[in-house]
Amino acid sequence: MFYRETGQYKTTYAADRAIFPIRQDRVAFAVLLLVAFVAIPLLANEYWLRSVLTPVLVFSLAAIGLNILTGYTGQLSLGTAAFMAVGAFAAYNLEVRVPEVPFLVSFVVAGLAAAGVGILFGLPSLRIKGFYLAVATLAAQFFIEWLFTHVGWFTNYSTSGVITAPPMTLLGFSFESAESRYLLTLCIVVVMAVMAKNMVRSELGRAWMAVRDMDIAAEAIGINLMKTKLTAFAVSSFYCGVAGALWAYVYLGTVEPQAFDVLRSFEILFMVIIGGLGSILGSFLGAAFIVLLPIFIANASGVFGDALSAETIAHLEFVIFGGLIIVFLVVEPRGLARLWQIVKEKLRLWPFPY
């Protein structure tokens, strides 16, 4: 009834290329941004801002990065957390060694450093595919974790191997409160998400998708495989690197290399799969789902928690988490983004479907 595009004519090329061609979508998106930028900082409490919403945003960014590589270009990666680690440690080392650099610049450097490492570990993708490639990215995962643990230079010879992010100040303003940190993350994530959305609609994104669908056919129609695959690795790693820097600076403040272990990589892959492969919106939905699910399970088990020991509950959480993942993959393997699409299609005909 309300979700009809009847009478909305596209009269210019710009209108035809719009991200949200339907007016209702544009309104909804504007409302969403308004809620995220104004309502949430005003209404949400410290716990929600610091421990739920900020990590959701940081993970969304990492998930967008992985989605570019796995969802759009079809290169399976199990090393996402390693690229995040590169970002976090690059930003830290730059700040420690050159304290004059503003932290936003060091975030960009973090992304660039991760992109460089990403290209390096993306080189095998020119020759190997599928799960064999996943193992090459696992090599990156284990090697980088080992490097940051064993080479003291990267942690500035901290004895515990833990790095502590220096305070973030911009033009005299110090990002200390939960609200300011949330808003900082939100700004970066929104800008980078819009960039990603536009990238995947451009020539580059279409080349990525052609490679995903069949790389030999893509090569035959004149797509430069090497360039396309390596840009996918670079862009994806850039996003992961910035996410890693945000994770270290904005979310936790202190990180150890073990925070970026292979389980973190799996977690981000879960977000991409549950959210929907090849969807920017899905990256956000998946990140929210995976971050919120354990919190939800923990609260739910708290209700009848008295009868069970804390250890049993921790194990039951694993059982429920694993079970839900499987159920989800069986019911809708194309993820939450696909469910959202189905809802929109139904809504167009509601309440009078043919």
Partner: protein, 296 residues
């Protein structure tokens, strides 16, 4: 001369421990061969089988009965996995199936520890764990026994695959799902069978690893060692899993001993992966894998 003996000792120790990686890699290869599923839960299945075995043993059952009961549990698990998960996921992309097995790994890990607890169980199968001098070279007796078990298992699986009807069906399915279906091989039964066999291999691996390290959560991490083994050997080759295990076992021990002191140790975690990556650069399908042929 001592240098040479030391080198040989490290090499043989590495080769023998490598066969134990092969044991876990074998489970991966079996399932991949018959269904194209990269089963990340294999490591957890090893843990789950070992936990169940020890749990039943501690209830007072004799070892043989405990083994039979555990095997029965693994077969039930195979049925459940096929019926509840993979039957509904035919024709999905491989990455989705892979994620489902990670979900399964979480599920089994939680379930096993909920039922049997988290404390480290000691598992004593009566395998002697003393050094044995072969001339001037010291070899672990335990590793020798484990290597013999692996050799026996691979032999038995080889006979099973070559001669029995089910083995032939498995090879048929591995070659081509569609062709196998069209000549009347029941795909679902075959999948249950192969998951059961993988469960059996997991049980053997769980017993060997469990009596080496104690039955605890960390034995599921052995799977991470088995992945490069399988990659080097090739996803689809049982002999490949053995050769890969030998290569990984020997090279990681040699690297740890001869390169480790220069870089601060801890190479064992990533060295096999780097090696696997280098092998893949030369042979993209692993040493013994089937050649990948692609057409547009």
């Amino acid at each position: 001369m001592d240098e040479l003996y030391f080198f040989l000792e490290v090499l043989i120790g590495g080769l023998l421990s490598g066969t134990m990686y092969s044991l876990v890699a074998l489970g991966f290869v079996l399932i991949y061969k018959a269904s194209g599923i990269f089963n990340f839960a294999q490591g957890t299945m090893v843990l789950f089988a070992a936990l169940t075995f020890v749990g039943v043993l501690e209830l007072g059952a004799p070892a043989l009965l405990a083994a039979v009961i555990t095997l029965a549990v693994m077969v039930v698990l195979a049925f459940a996995v096929e019926r509840l998960v993979f039957r509904h996921m035919v024709n999905q992309p491989q990455v989705i199936l892979f994620m489902a097995t990670i979900g399964l790994a979480y599920f089994l890990e939680g379930l096993g520890q909920t039922v049997w607890g988290t404390e480290v169980h000691v598992l004593d199968l009566g395998i002697p764990d003393r050094g044995l001098w072969l001339g001037p070279i010291l070899v672990s007796q335990f590793d020798l026994v484990a290597a013999a078990v692996v050799a026996g298992l691979v032999g038995a699986l080889g006979v099973f695959f070559r001669t029995t009807t089910m083995g032939r069906a498995l090879r048929g399915v591995a070659d081509d799902h569609q062709a196998a279906l069209s000549i009347g091989i029941p795909l679902h039964h075959v999948w249950v069978a192969v998951w059961s066999v993988a469960g059996f291999v997991a049980l053997v691996a769980g017993l060997v690893w469990g009596s080496k390290l104690g039955v605890q959560f960390s034995i599921s991490l052995v799977a991470l060692k088995a992945i490069p083994v399988m990659i080097i050997g090739g996803f689809t080759s049982i002999p490949g899993a053995i050769v890969g295990g030998l290569i990984v076992g020997a090279s990681e021990k040699l690297a740890e001993v001869y390169l480790g002191p220069f870089v601060g140790g801890g190479l064992e975690n990533w060295f096999p992966y780097m090696l696997a990556m280098l092998v893949l650069m030369v042979r993209p399908e692993g040493l013994f894998g089937e050649k990948i042929i692609e057409r547009v």
